[in-house]
Subunit: 213 residues, 2 copies
Amino acid sequence: MSTAEETAGGEVQPWAEVTPDAARRLLLAAVEAFAERGYHATTTRDIAGRAGMSPAALYIHYKTKEELLHRISRIGHEKALDILRTAARGEGSPTERLADAVSSFVRWHAGGRTTARVVQYELDSLGPEARAEIVGLRKQVNAEVRGIIEDGVRTGEFDVPDVHGTTLAVLSLCIDVARWFNVNGPRTPEEIGDLYADLVLRMVGAKDAGSRS
Amino acid sequence: MSTAEETAGGEVQPWAEVTPDAARRLLLAAVEAFAERGYHATTTRDIAGRAGMSPAALYIHYKTKEELLHRISRIGHEKALDILRTAARGEGSPTERLADAVSSFVRWHAGGRTTARVVQYELDSLGPEARAEIVGLRKQVNAEVRGIIEDGVRTGEFDVPDVHGTTLAVLSLCIDVARWFNVNGPRTPEEIGDLYADLVLRMVGAKDAGSRS
DNA sequence: GAGGTCGCTAAGCGCTCGCTCACCCTTGCC
DNA sequence: GGCAAGGGTGAGCGAGCGCTTAGCGACCTC
């Protein structure tokens, strides 16, 4: 279940759960295409071509093009939520848990940029019922981060006048990494994760911000 | 030139420079449609319909659908750059200028969310030469923010180990407001602007962060 | 080796897309 | 009034879209 494979590049591949091999190849091709061009600019012929199949093969494994996006979005959000939960429910202080959560969340958005892009920016391309499901997952993501911040405020480690707004800002900062991160750029996902963990600790007024490098 | 009109809602309307009246109406309709559905999911029939014209009228004023996006993107980026420049070249301390820059930049992204969404998220829908032009404008935006941060580091007001990375994070934080801001939500653009200015001052280690409410 | 099933393909249907073209109505100038 | 110019329309072209269907070959079962 939680045994996700990792490549040398560090990109997590949680697609092992997509079971017929052809269905997984199609889904991977769709992730690439959606991330490059966007959902609406991607054709079913393009997806099938990338997977080395004819256009009709897509409809054996998926009912519509939108079902592909829905599957990608749900699996991606579940993975993101899993990452945050692991960090949020760890054993350290709120400061340590927030730094963990931010750095791992950012690593996922940077390292798995293609997946994260689709997951975070194609929500509006889903139909109403599929979008409602994904919005529910996002609320859980939000609640995990807010929980850590509230813990830190309770213990006195953090100084946060606006918990709700700060939660929003922290998540927004992490998510937007998927928009600008460049694999061929000067920074690794790990470096961005460390930098962002430090910046977020500063945002919440953590007392040892900056001393964790 | 710089006499942009403002509505009661606070949304800046810098489209006065688009001269034939019909051309401006079409451009405004396109901004709305692109922001709602995305560039690729918007049809020329939809744009013309919103402007109260027949589909063919669009091609009297614009050569292609892409030219519409290009015009919107250029005007929007120039406005954003103008806002940042005004704040960056003000008279106060780096702390005051950074707070000004962030709060006004965020107000623009929140208040003019429809425009900002198109400007910030449809870059990849442009062709190569148009995209190159816009990327140049973005570099200037980046340079303005980096300039303020470098000033603060020089005067000792800021404590920033990684100026380049922090600049990226600050801009990213502001830009992503256009993705999640909801006009019917609980916060006004002004409130978000103030909150974000405080958060950014904390990120750069400004000495009076939080004392500016 | 006959028959059923499954994964896949070639061909193409119905539709909508971006865009064009022949033509019209209003306006201003002589 | 004649008439050129320019903003606008209705109809429609060629192309490409998402998706369907008839059929084919490889494989399992008996």
